[in-house]
């Protein structure tokens, strides 16, 4: 039983496996979204990539959050060769460095992790929120988690209990989902969608949806584990 409200590396590993599976299962829908504004291969690319990630995570050391993140990142970079795969992969690798040797994640850690991911993709990819990319969903998640962790800390005060990390993750997943929905109204400013602008408007950005899906499944898995006492 986790009395300090953290997410253990082992719970995280199971959750990352579930989340990768969920993105892979959404292959056709993601490809269809991507076809509207890109070259239509995001679903296949991510299905392949996360399929490989599953193999790696199944073998990975389940006691170190950093290792789980780094190995996911390295696998995505290699096996999901695409701008999205490279950027998300790098983001996970940087997150892996930031959390190297960490056995579990607090609510603050969840917020920080999401911040590292967002910063990496935005910096390397050159996109900022509002341009109808995965950065919108990443930023939505990071902002929600930071807000929740901060509010939790404020509530905890002298008690020092703080917010449960699972709750912070759930808020983040909600933030990502809402941001992904809002990309349907945005004008694409970067990437291939930018020169297919008319076709892109009205549909959600595939990358943002992919991230919202991943985070949603991650959160659901952690919450379910919490319910069974993990």
């Amino acid at each position: 039983m986790n009395s300090t409200g953290t997410i253990s590396a082992d719970v995280l590993r199971q959750a990352m496996l579930a989340a990768g599976d969920q993105v892979a299962a959404l292959r056709d829908e993601l490809s269809a979204l991507d076809a509207a504004a890109g070259d239509g291969d995001l679903g296949v690319t991510l299905a392949t990539g996360f399929g490989q990630v599953r193999l790696v995570l199944e073998q990975a050391d389940g006691s170190d959050v950093g290792v789980l993140l780094s190995q996911t990142g390295r696998t995505l970079m290699r096996k999901a060769p695409s701008t999205f795969g490279s950027l998300l992969g790098l983001a996970f690798v940087r997150a892996g460095s930031a959390f190297a040797g960490t056995p579990d994640l607090s609510a603050d850690d969840v917020a920080r992790l999401l911040g590292v991911l967002t910063q990496a993709v935005s910096e390397r990819g050159g996109a900022v929120p509002g341009q109808r990319t995965v950065v919108d969903a990443l930023n939505g998640a990071a902002t929600a988690a930071a807000g929740a962790a901060g509010a939790g800390a404020a509530c905890a005060g002298a008690a020092g209990a703080g917010l449960d990390a699972a709750e912070a993750l759930a808020r983040a997943a909600q933030g990502a989902a809402e941001a992904a929905e809002r990309t349907a109204e945005m004008e694409p400013a970067v990437g291939r969608a930018a020169w297919l602008a008319d076709r892109a408007r009205g549909s959600r950005d595939a990358g943002a949806v992919a991230w919202a899906t991943y985070l949603g499944a991650l959160s659901a898995s952690v919450t379910a584990a919490r319910a069974t006492g993990a």
């Binding site: 970079m77 060769p81 490279s86 790098l90 990819g125």
Partner: protein, 336 residues
């Protein structure tokens, strides 16, 4: 799907079988990094501490890029799928393998996917204590105006960069010097191509772009990127004159300059036609008061079986000339 005039087995194995054949053919020159079949490095390296050079890019352009892994040129190459960027992991594997403790220069063509993945590789390499600098070939004058020269695509002219940077590194210079010299070489290079046909990727089965018979497109890129002028196919002299004029306008060499010239086949165009083009280029340079220090004619950067050619000019000074002429003087980069 119309039958392809190609010699291959299963299309999806095209790149892997190409690499396998290349490594079997030239085992004293090149080898794959253990566990990384797309990370190709020199097999004859003596391990001497020095700056080493990595390149990379999509397949389909031989001898570019992996054909330049040879003494006097580059030390390693990350190989991507046809017309696609290699991954950061492959470039990192090359970097780790060729690192000789004095830093690594990444020298490759300016394409978005390559830049993203190789910048990531450089970041990861830095995390392992390997210093990496980057110089991009951006010689295609047709791909962007002079005001946006840094956005230009890299085409055959990177050959000069490889030779010059390779010679500089072989001389024992430090990373800052090799980087400066490489940048100077690419900054002094201008290229332009003309396409008479498109090409067909085996996995696609039909041409990725079309140039109707009897037409030409000046400025078309090596992946079929649109050019700047399409029209009826003119005589070789007219085409060469057109291309030379664009190059000289952009390069604007001072009177009496010494230049190196590369006339490159894009794949289907034979050497005979390249020499006919060169004849006109040579005369045009002489008429403009410049001299040709050295000429390189042949396949240096192709696009599968595309018909067409590119012309590159390198404006020389003493430093660049010294490195260009350093041993090995062998002109062709075709792996031997």
């Amino acid at each position: 799907m119309a039958p392809l005039r190609k010699l291959l087995n299963e299309p999806e194995n095209f790149v892997d079988e190409m690499l396998e054949g290349l490594l079997l053919a030239h085992p004293r020159l090149v080898r794959a990094v253990s566990g990384e079949p797309r990370a190709i490095v020199r097999a004859d390296d003596d391990g001497r501490p020095r700056v080493t050079i990595a390149t990379g890019g999509g397949s389909g352009h031989l001898p570019l890029f992996v054909g330049y892994v040879r003494p006097g040129f580059v030390d390693g190459c990350a190989v991507g799928n046809l017309f696609a960027s290699p991954s950061a992991e492959e470039m990192l594997a090359v970097t780790q393998s060729i690192n000789r403790g004095r830093g690594v220069l990444y020298l490759y063509g300016n394409y978005g996917g390559d830049r993203l993945n190789f910048d990531i590789a450089a970041e990861l390499a830095l995390g392992e204590g390997i210093e990496v600098t980057t110089v991009l070939g951006a010689d295609d004058v047709a791909s962007a105006t002079p005001e946006h020269a840094s956005r230009r695509r890299g085409i055959a002219g990177i050959f000069f960069g490889y030779k010059i940077a390779g010679a500089c590194a072989a001389s024992g210079a430090d990373l800052a010097t090799v980087t400066r010299v490489a940048q100077h070489a690419v900054d002094s290079t201008r290229s332009i191509g003309v396409a008479l046909s498109g090409c067909t990727l085996p996995t696609v089965g039909h041409p990725n772009f079309e140039v109707p018979a009897g037409e030409m497109e000046i400025g078309m890129g090596i992946h079929g990127e649109p050019g700047v002028e399409r029209g009826p196919l003119r005589s070789a002299d007219e085409v060469a004159g057109n291309m030379l004029r664009r190059l000289l306008d952009d390069l604007d060499p001072p009177p009496g300059s010494s230049l190196a010239v590369l006339v490159n086949s894009l794949g289907a165009t034979p050497a005979e036609e390249l020499y006919i083009l060169y004849r006109r280029v040579h005369r045009g340079l002489a008429d403009a008061g410049h001299s040709v220090h050295r000429a390189f004619v042949g396949e240096h950067a192709t696009s599968l079986e595309m018909a067409g050619a590119s012309v590159s000019l390198l404006l020389l000074d003493d430093e660049l000339t010294g490195y260009l002429d350093a041993e090995p003087r062998g002109a062709t980069a075709t792996v031997a």
